[in-house]
Amino acid sequence: MEWPVPGRTSTRFWVPAASGGVPDSPAGRMCVCPGPRRIGIPIRSSSLPLFSDAMPAPTQLFFPLIRNCELSRIYGTACYCHHRHLCCSSPYLAQSRLRYAPHPAYATFCRPKESWWQYTQGRRYASTPQKFYLTPPQVNSILKANEYSFKVPEFDGKNVSSVLGFDSNQLPANAPIEDRRSAATCLQTRGMLLGVFDGHAGCACSQAVSERLFYYIAVSLLPHETLLEIENAVESGRALLPILQWHKHPNDYFSKEASKLYFNSLRTYWQELIDLNTGESTDIDVKEALINAFKRLDNDISLEAQVGDPNSFLNYLVLRVAFSGATACVAHVDGVDLHVANTGDSRAMLGVQEEDGSWSAVTLSNDHNAQNERELERLKLEHPKNEAKSVVKQDRLLGLLMPFRAFGDVKFKWSIDLQKRVIESGPDQLNDNEYTKFIPPNYYTPPYLTAEPEVTYHRLRPQDKFLVLATDGLWETMHRQDVVRIVGEYLTGMHHQQPIAVGGYKVTLGQMHGLLTERRAKMSSVFEDQNAATHLIRHAVGNNEFGTVDHERLSKMLSLPEELARMYRDDITIIVVQFNSHVVGAYQNQE
């Protein structure tokens, strides 16, 4: 039987097939067992035969299979909690669990009930398979579960911020999701920070970076006097100046346990900044500040893992943070100055409206992966010539890691000695974990990985309407031009593009009505969403070959059991920042 191609997506990690791995199948053909998601070679197929409307008879068998898995999910509620627990306490176990074909596991789950299962299966099979579909409200509730919008408050109708507000959303494929997002307003300096973080090998690192990075950036941006003031306040136990105003979805949590530890590291950082200051107060360079903040945080993550913590929970946490990884794409908007700092393969895309009303995309970040020649070049230059072939293999760093820059991932940064020392002295969970113990092949001249971001500067113009920050889950499925067009049309609304005017033409009421109904149908998917990011996800997941949202397809994609979801898509996290053209224009006129 043919297993349809779970195209489009691939995991960052290609852990070599250890025990239980399924031999690589030829692209486009797989065995029925969904198997490990590590299926390494990214297959970028444009269509998913699985969801073709005219379903060939054999593939209909797939439906019972999905139900099977779905059922196992129900059975596995306990398993799910367990799984979650594992994920929080050990992403590696979860990871490694996925390395084994899940199907036999389900089989074991289901076996005691097999006779019943077959019975119901037969019965259900006779009934309509559509039963499985999600209704539009169900689809919406899934898509909207994580959506968040923030409007910069207007005072007296005069909004002086160049940012009107932002919409953000994320759709998990991993369970739990490994992507994170953050947004905050700098309170002691001007500007707003927004970022998406794509974790791999668990969510620990992306979580930590999403909590901490903005503080490092904000501190880097602070003038000397403010730093002194804050330090003095800490010293004398006075109330601190607030640095950031967070804009968080209720699901975006901060870890309470580690906040003391994180604060101490941050404080050390600003103390050093204070000491470094030579007294001559110079204008702070945002680019430099961003680079410093990224590097410093990565350094702190690494140090905290090396030093450890007397509290065993924290000790384990800092290790998990260090051994997992995360990419980051952060935008800093202050007036017309837009800086994008990127580490890894998330992307920042500017939506520009041309004079004729059409949309074009301007990329403000470079992906740090094998598709980027300059990155390949950089890696080759940073390592001896004899490693030229091994440093990037099969488009992955050391044949393993897709992004070429990332936070955490000390496996690619520490010396072998250090890794061994830390693992041995670390808690048992770490010690027992195969992945952590595993040393990348051809590991001669670490570090192979850096968190140093590439910073791009863009001066906002009135035609720059919005910025899309998104993890690769989006960019894998949609072309950047489509992304910008869909957001642009969403934000402006259809009628802004082409208002209907009767003018001198002869139009009957009936004709007009037909025209309007048509336009409304086109817009209905726009109206369904109050959030540009949600709208984008709807398209990313539900687009058919004609570029319009196909509900049936959307429903099928969203009802994939979590074990399968990762094969069809990656976590998607999107922030759409809308700019205030009037304010931007006013800035321009001032000069």
């Binding site: 109708g157 208002p499 209907i500 009767v502 001198g504 009421l509 009936g510």
Partner: protein, 878 residues
Amino acid sequence: MSYRLLSVVRRQRTGRGWQNWSSGRSGASAAEAHSVTLPAQAQVVICGGGIMGTSVAYHLSKMGWKDVVLLEQGRLAAGSTRFCAGILSTARHLTIEQKMADYSNKLYHQLEQETGIQTGYIRTGSVFLAQTQDRLISLKRINSRLNVIGIPSEIISPKKVAELHPLLNVHDLVGAMHVPEDAVVSSADVALALASAASQNGVQIYDRTSILHVMVKKGQVTGVETDKGQIECQYFVNCAGQWAYELGLSNEEPVSIPLHACEHFYLLTRPLETPLRSNTPTIVDADGRIYIRNWQGGILSGGFEKNPKPIFTEGKNQLEIQNLQEDWDHFEPLLSSLLRRMPDLETLEILKLVNCPETFTPDMRCIMGESPSVQGYFVLAGMNSAGLSFGGGAGRYLAEWMVHGYPSENIWELDLKRFGALQSSRTFLRHRVMEVMPLLYDLKVPRWDFQTGRQLRTSPLYDRLDAQGARWMEKHGFERPKYFVPPDKDLLALEQSKTFYKPDWFDIVESEVKCCKEAVCVIDMSSFTKFEITSAGDQALEVLQYLFSNDLDVPVGHIVHTGMLNQAGGYENDCSIARLGKRSFFMISPTDQQVHCWAWLKKHMPEDSNLLLEDVTWKYTALNLIGPRAVDVLSELSYAPMTPDHFPSLFCKEMSVGYANGIRVMSMTHTGEPGFMLYIPIEYALHVYNEVMSVGQKYGIRNAGYYALRSLRIEKFFAFWGQDLNTLTTPLECGRESRVKLEKGMDFIGRDALLQQKQNGVYKRLTMFILDDHDTDLDLWPWWGEPIYRNGQYAGKTTSSAYSYTLERHVCLGFVHNFSEDTGEEQVVTADFINRGEYEIDIAGHRFQAKAKLYPVTSLFTHKRRKDDVELSDLHGK
């Protein structure tokens, strides 16, 4: 395109007859207009040359005020008046609105004859369609009320509708209301005709003249500053339509006129192949949100969409004016609705989609009257899309108001003073009008509340009460609890039902009422307006004695219920006054009296006195402890005896409650039930509330809301100002002789009128009706405004109603008149006349028998629970 077309057409048709304007014809060149010099002074300056301004000018000049100047910033009859759809409809919800529209109709009808200017008046009639039974009920209610004021109308079947209009699809209708005397008219031409008539009467009209601001000295209008110079004047009338708000704020002493514009769209088509007859009725399909009229052989159709587009939030904005474009996508739902109603129009060709902003107010009613802060500053604006219908009547009432000092009808519902500065926020207005505009065509069921612009004024207990299940209504921006949903009730189901029948909170309010009768309830009544009047000498007493009809020279600590009357003896306010000391008084008035009462007191107080009037509404939280056990709760909290011997009824004492001192405790409850009002300085509110609730636990205390209060006070025949009482009702007409002390030793406002009335007898009498054959579960509930029939003859209308849980009957309050059978003239109403009648109340066309009472049912006061009524469940705490 058709803009020009329209104007050309109108110019041609109205080209004669108004040569005698001071500024020459509106066709005069700009240069010519600039050379005109304004008069240095006038008695009245009117701002705005739309239908409102011209109507006021017309009526003023008719009443003999000829020294009137009307200024218009653009051209006459431009603005909303030009683009008005031209439908005159008398089917309104308020009686005063019906009367204004009826008068307008009659005025416009004869205007062409009077002025010689064609107004395009055609008596087409109008048909209001009902797609649902609820809509039909709503129409039937209006129908009943129209009939009794002499406007013919009838409820008709869908089949009859089809006969009246050939193009209508009637398959989904359940009925309709036909108002045959409604008309269509060109509003711009009406305005021009009114202007022409006014100008013949001596009114000077200047167009292309903008008013910059109004000059005010010592709270009195002294003149206006225009772009062409100053004019001194005593009276200023703001008829600036959607710019009235801005103009009001442009003064040094701003006048708050809460209104906001929304874009409004209607469609014009080219003529039909077989044009409709010119008298084809106008169709209003409120369920489809559209109106449709005959227009130059084609169709004019617009509506009030669910998602209106507010405009000019930041004031007059040239950019926005230029951007007023046809928004077809926005119009799509209305177009669909139109084609559903008239499928044959599919092939009709579009001429234009007109976008004409209309002005809306926070409560869907227009704004007229004098500013509370600036004397001589009058306003007539905020027509909620009914400017043409109201224009004539509203202009007349405002002119009466200016000339006589008061209008001939009670217009409190439209009075500018019902609003204060608190409704003036741009954000509030923007949000509220987005709710108001769709509401024009929404079904208006009893007891609906606005959803936007809420939680502006709240008591400090708001969060506590909300957490205990309070459902809220709003009055003058203040949140008041309606009732408290018990924890086990399904909240969602409760909020959604809109009904003309028995409401879903029936049982909830019943248990609250029962608790008031048998144990004790707390109602947060902080919204009441509270003033303090003090003076160094005896002026406070003197002034109050002059302003109020009851004798206020009572011992310290006594509370007096009294009316604040006008010259005609009518209630300007009905309040309770506690004498706190020899020279200080505490005055409690209805919530919406805050602006009106303040203005009245200020106006009538001697200027140079050392009298101190202070609004202390915000300083006190008021808790009403109603019920027989209130005594126990309070005495336990204060360690003071609270029995009637120590604390007689209508008594006020400052005492401690719990830890808090200085609580004003008054032995009255506004319901006739035993209990106390606690006026608590706000910082103690939470403490006192908590103490009362915890001590009250063992007496079965619970929260109650205004619905329970309403039921209690109406069954006891307690009339409330604003609902039952108004400026045209005197104490003698509602059985309150005891609250008037004609012989208190000094004159008071309204005394002469009351003396006169006492001698002559009253012409109407507030009466309580107990519905007899009304099934609470199955029949339509009374609301207010239902016609009362005496011996089959129309005798008046109800003013309020409630279900009495004690009598297990509906109780309505209403005024009974004695209309002469021959002439229709009003005659004296005696107690005997009331008692000898057989009464019926007409609820949406169905008449219910009612017993009339002039005094409350006495058994209510001695209600005792029978021993065998006690259940085990009564032992449970509440």
